[in-house]
Amino acid sequence: MNRFLSKDFLSGVMFIAFGLTALYFGNHLALGTPVRMGPGYVPHKLACIMLILGGIISLVPLYSTATPSEKKSIWIPVGGAVILFIPAAHYLVPLFDAAPWLVAVAGDWFQLLAVAGLLALLLLGALVPIYGTARAAPGALEAVETPKWKPITMVTLGIVLFAVLLERTGMFPALVALVLVASLGGEEFKTVEVIGNIIVLTILSIVVFKIGLGMNIAVIEGVW
């Protein structure tokens, strides 16, 4: 099993991705000061926390599956460099009249830590496949199950179709599309059953939503 496909590693990467997205899109929001926080203060801190946590979550499974020689040749140098990098960057960057973005990054302890975690992850991600020959111990980490694409695609497609059709053609065509596509996502598809299901659900949703709750939706656009 490829150790980069463990659940923990991938979820760490996902958290980092969310953190980066939040940092990027929250970039234009004013940070303000701790006394008078701007709209960007809390999102910025949360994004940094996401980066730090994501880094930890994805590094732990990599470390726990590394062989002793890998630990010596990769983990100690990389880890040491990162630990040294944090205070160094914090104090030295302003002295060198560096690029503004570097000052922005290194001036904030919190963000620096987050960036360092990210850097370490990137470095390790590059180094481990180059040097590493070790495989994960059996059962040490849970691999992601290969997803079955059919159900998730069909279900999502069904809802999107429903959203597209609802206001243009009315509830009934949208309902038919949703039920049909969603039923295709299951293991068994029997035409008679699906037609029966459509009839029952049409009656049910007209009774519940249109009559019962008095929702203003057309069953077939322009007709009823």
């Binding site: 929250g26 809390v42 992601v144 998730i152 279900v155 809802i159 299951g186 929702m215």
Partner: protein, 501 residues
């Protein structure tokens, strides 16, 4: 006699024709989804959230509460009769309940579990009545910093007691907090993460997220698995023997007590209560060898515990506005949809809603006993309904429900989007519940945090200087430390392994 006055007020609200009807509806829907495996109370309540928008506040909350405790009843029915737990909280009931059914004592097991649940529900409701007022009064003394720390404690405790990796669950809480920030910043009016989409300027609606994360993702996972159905078993006489009654009474009382305590804890709730009660019963029993072979205590105790816990988990939500599990987070969402800010003010500003809801829980429990015992045969027949009928129906309800929130198809698309996200979470082993708790508490927590920092002139020490806040933070830290201890870590892993198998 303030308490009696309040209870009387609650009673008048609860027995009004309309509210009785909604309580009945909630109980029936709850039992139905409890019986059907593959759809739980979280997904159902998420699905029905938009509908509650069209109902009066009290009626909608009464109905949603009914679904929650109705599901506990329904789940035990299928556990006993066909060895299929309808809900996570009735997994343990399978062990001895199904064995009793195989010995021809299914009827007795069902009535003991129903009566035990009713007793537990009554006690749970009484506990809410007794504790609601003092807790609310305490909560009114809280400043912004205290609230912020209380929320931190609630979130951490919920995470610690939840299933799976603690680090991932904490990350999920923060992710939820981050998603909660989307929309217009209340203090400055700045647009945050709205991507110029007008629908997002009010924040991401709670209902589509809950439907996507719990409803859609659950359906997809169930579609991937092949659902097996087994034939139903004969129910037999509903009357337990004198011996069975004698043995169940102490078990019911112990289960109720344990469940009631565990239900109040953040992150606790019915499932934890049922598992702990079963373990306790097995340890205390003079005949531990009978457990797993149809011991009546093994049905009575966990069934009472899950109901007691389902009731008492309302306490932190009703008094402090802090949800302790995913269902309570949805209840908070339902209140916000109705324009009610959950917290200590609910009791003073809306006493009819507060007491009406509490009394209606007891009424609902009574209804469940009366309705369910005679109707068991019908519920069991429903089990033969294949999932391929159910899945499109749930999807359709989610889609129309999401649309009905604001008559906008954007919400329907949101459901699809969060469905995909929820599926990714499931595949990566990330729990949805901490995310939901973070999402619900996110906006309030930021508000309190900013206010506390403003009052202290930017000094974060304020969180340590106020005694209430300090105490709460110390508890939070202790909880996190405890989790790091190897022995507790191992015990926790074992407990959850048992649950999964």
């Amino acid at each position: 006699m303030d308490l009696l006055n309040n209870l009387f007020l609650g009673l008048t609200v609860a027995v009004s024709m309309q509210n009785l009807l909604y309580a009945l509806l909630g109980c029936m829907v709850g039992t139905l989804i409890g019986v059907l495996p593959g759809i739980g109370p979280v997904a159902t309540i998420a699905m029905l959230l938009p509908i509650t928008f069209h109902l009066p506040p009290t009626a909608s909350l009464i109905m949603l509460a009914g679904i929650y405790y109705g599901a506990q009843y329904g789940g035990s029915t299928t556990s006993i009769l066909v060895n299929l737990p309808g809900e996570a909280s009735s997994v343990v009931t399978c062990i001895d309940g199904y064995q009793m059914a195989r010995k021809g004592r299914a009827g007795a097991a069902l009535s003991i579990s129903a009566l035990g649940s009713f007793f537990a529900g009554t006690v749970g409701t009484l506990i809410i009545v007794l504790f609601a007022e003092p807790l609310t009064r305490m909560a009114q003394k809280f400043g912004p910093a205290d609230y912020c720390s209380l929320m931190a404690l609630g979130l951490v405790a919920a995470v610690v007691l939840a299933n799976g990796s603690v680090a991932k669950a904490i990350a999920m809480v923060f992710l939820g907090l981050l998603f909660g920030l989307v929309g217009t910043d209340v203090n400055t009016g700045a647009q945050r993460f709205t991507f110029d989409i007008p629908e997002l300027s009010d924040g991401i609606d709670f209902a589509p997220i809950a439907m996507g994360l719990f409803g859609i993702a659950e359906i997809v996972v169930n579609l991937e698995r092949r659902m097996e159905r087994t034939g139903a078993i004969k129910v037999g006489s509903l009357w337990p023997t004198r011996e069975e009654i004698r043995r169940s009474i102490p078990a019911v009382i112990r289960g109720t007590a344990l469940g009631a305590v565990l239900g109040v804890l953040p992150g606790g709730g019915p499932t934890l209560g049922a598992f702990s009660a079963y373990t306790l019963e097995k340890k205390l029993s003079k005949h531990p060898e009978e457990f797993g072979k149809g011991a009546v205590e093994g049905v009575a105790s966990p069934e009472s515990a899950n109901n007691a816990a389902a009731q008492t988990s309302f306490i932190p939500m009703l008094t402090l506005g802090i949800p302790s599990n995913a269902v309570m987070a949805l209840m908070v969402g339902a209140m916000i949809i109705q324009g009610i800010q959950p917290g200590p003010e609910v009791m003073t500003k809306k006493p009819d809603l507060f007491w009406g809801m509490i009394v209606s829980m007891w009424v609902g429990n009574l209804m469940l006993v009366i309705i369910n015992l005679p109707m068991i045969g019908m519920w069991v027949k429903l089990l033969t309904l294949p999932y391929r009928f159910l899945a499109p129906a749930i999807l359709l309800f989610c889609a129309i429900g999401a649309y009905s929130l604001q008559n906008s198809t954007f919400h329907v698309l949101q459901v699809a989007m969060f469905g995909v996200l929820g599926y990714i979470f499931v595949r990566l082993g990330c729990e949805g519940a901490p995310f939901l708790l973070g999402l619900v508490l996110g906006p309030q927590m930021e508000e309190y945090f900013r206010r506390a920092m403003l009052l202290s002139r930017g000094d974060p020490m304020v969180f340590l200087q106020r005694p209430i806040s300090l105490g709460l933070l110390i508890t939070t830290a202790l909880l996190l430390l405890l989790m790091a201890l190897p022995s507790i870590k191992r015990a926790r892993e074992e407990a959850f392994q048992e649950e999964e198998s």
